[in-house]
């Protein structure tokens, strides 16, 4: 009987110890944390996923885990955290090339184009083609983003495949022909003929109303001076001068706003294209 009691106590201790380690019961074992983090990652709950992966001791984190942490931070816009971790991925790792590509994507998203080009230059020719090509595409695409003039058309579109070439070609042509207006010219035109500058930047009705208001108040001033109403004459002169000056000034800002609009719309098109192409980064199979 004593034996039975002892045996039960012994097995219950054993059972408890087992249950602590077993995958069913211990929700906080390394394996279970990893499983839960993977689940969160695939549910696109990226901040929680990153925090969960980071609960695993650094010694036990492999490159895949670190890569997923960095990727999670990158997706939620925590670029500096992401950069630090991507940079730590060893050059011997199978994920090294992908991490360089992700780093380039971060530089692209933050519009750090000079760094993007330097980093790319340093690594030119390294790595296999499956990575070199996307890097080249991202680099070439970045030329459309900032103010640098791209190289000639054929060289420029060369890295892109047939599906991409059509839109890239269009974007290239658009980039070369953005209808940027000169603010100073717009102002000068309005100084010569009230409203002309606004018309030059495409604001026809604004230009017309500027012409009408300057014209009307100049006429009223002239008419009142003629009728000997000097006070009213000067009052209307002042108002006419205000409209005239305001229009010369406004034509300058109208050109600036027009240019901002052109760039905004062009960038919108660029962004929607590169997003649809996932920044030329091949899809990962982490959640398949």
């Amino acid at each position: 009987m004593k034996f039975i009691v002892l045996a039960i106590i012994y097995t219950s201790i054993l059972g408890f110890a087992q249950s602590n380690d077993s995958t069913i019961n211990s929700l906080y074992s390394k394996e279970n944390i990893l499983k839960f983090a993977d689940y969160l990652f695939c549910e696109e709950d990226f901040l929680r996923a990153a925090e969960e992966y980071q609960k695993i001791d650094e010694k036990f984190r492999d490159d895949k885990i670190n890569f997923k942490i960095a990727l999670s931070f990158s997706i939620i816009g925590e670029y500096s955290k992401s950069e630090t971790i991507f940079n730590r991925i060893n050059s011997n790792s199978p994920l090294y090339q992908q991490s360089r590509l992700e780093l380039l994507k971060i530089l692209f998203l933050q519009e750090r184009f000079d760094e993007l080009r330097t980093l790319n230059k340093n690594e030119d020719g390294e790595g296999d083609v499956s990575i070199q090509l996307p890097i080249k595409k991202l680099l070439y695409f970045s030329f459309l983003k900032d103010q640098q003039v791209p190289e000639d058309f054929d060289t420029f579109t060369q890295p892109f495949n047939d599906n991409e070439k059509h839109e890239i070609g269009l974007l290239y042509t658009l980039r070369q022909n953005l209808s940027i207006k000169n603010p100073l010219l717009s102002s000068i035109l309005s100084a010569l003929v009230p409203g002309a500058g606004k018309m030059y930047v495409g604001e026809f009705s604004d230009g017309l109303f500027a012409l009408l208001s300057v014209g009307l108040f100049s006429f009223l001033a002239y008419d009142n001076f003629n009728a000997g109403h000097n006070f009213r004459g000067w009052l209307f002169t002042g108002i006419a001068a205000g409209f005239y000056g305001g229009n010369v000034y406004g034509s300058y800002s109208a050109a600036q706003i027009h240019n901002a609009q052109i760039r905004y719309e062009y960038n919108l098109r660029l962004d929607s294209f590169i997003k649809s192409k996932n920044y030329f980064i091949p899809k990962y199979d982490f959640c398949e």
Partner: protein, 289 residues
Amino acid sequence: MNKKLKAIGSTKLKFVILLLFWLINNSQLSASDYLQKQYEFAAKLFDEEKYYDAITEFKRLQFFDNQKLYGYLSNKMIALSYKHGGKFNDAVKYLSKAELLAPNSDSLFAIKIEIVKINLLRKTTFRARDILEDLKKDTSFAGKENQIIYWKAWTFIFEEQWDKAAELFGILDQNHELKRLCNNTHDMSYSPQIAKILSTIIPGAGQFYTANLLSGLLSLGWVTLWTYLSAQAFLADRVFDGLMMLNFLDFRFYNGNIQNAEKFAVEHNREISDWMLNYLCNNYRGEKP
């Protein structure tokens, strides 16, 4: 000897049976124990108002809860956490998940009411009323009519239709505290329509009605002045001046006076409503969103 052997045999058998029984029992208990502990941990974070972390732990519970023992509870708690974070759309998403896992009709009703409350908080009162109407038509919720009326009255509170809200609370109880509060708020409000009509008839009268005497006098003054000056211009045959003054000054101030009277009424009502809504939010002890 045989007896002894038999006795040893039966002892061993008893031991093996006991051991097996214990092992099966113990391992099952441990699994549900861990889930229970996880639920308590998540609930503790919820009680400590660490709602973001509470959601993480409820999600962990869900992930390891293969049999969905905590499906209803965890989804409800995640929804309530989102509610406390002001993330109402996410709250509704998880309440809808809880709805599918509700163990009985009472739980289902409770979830529906939670969805109504969230709709009140995110000011989609029409959606809240739609849900309440559906509940009213559903025979499985017979006997819960009073609760449905109660929450319908709250939808009118959030629309600041205090008289309608009071009427519904009155159906539940003629002396309902909320009926009294809603009626008081309604009585203290001005009618924007009356303010507009008064100012249309006599400039400034609407402002007088809303107790803005100085603005009323100023409005009356401006309209009188420009009417007088434009009349003078017309009488002196200065038709252009008269028209300009009438159009750009007299009509402008006359119309402005009507808008101004309405604005005072609306602003006053806004203040009264906000005061009452804040009072209900912070001080009312009964069931509330």
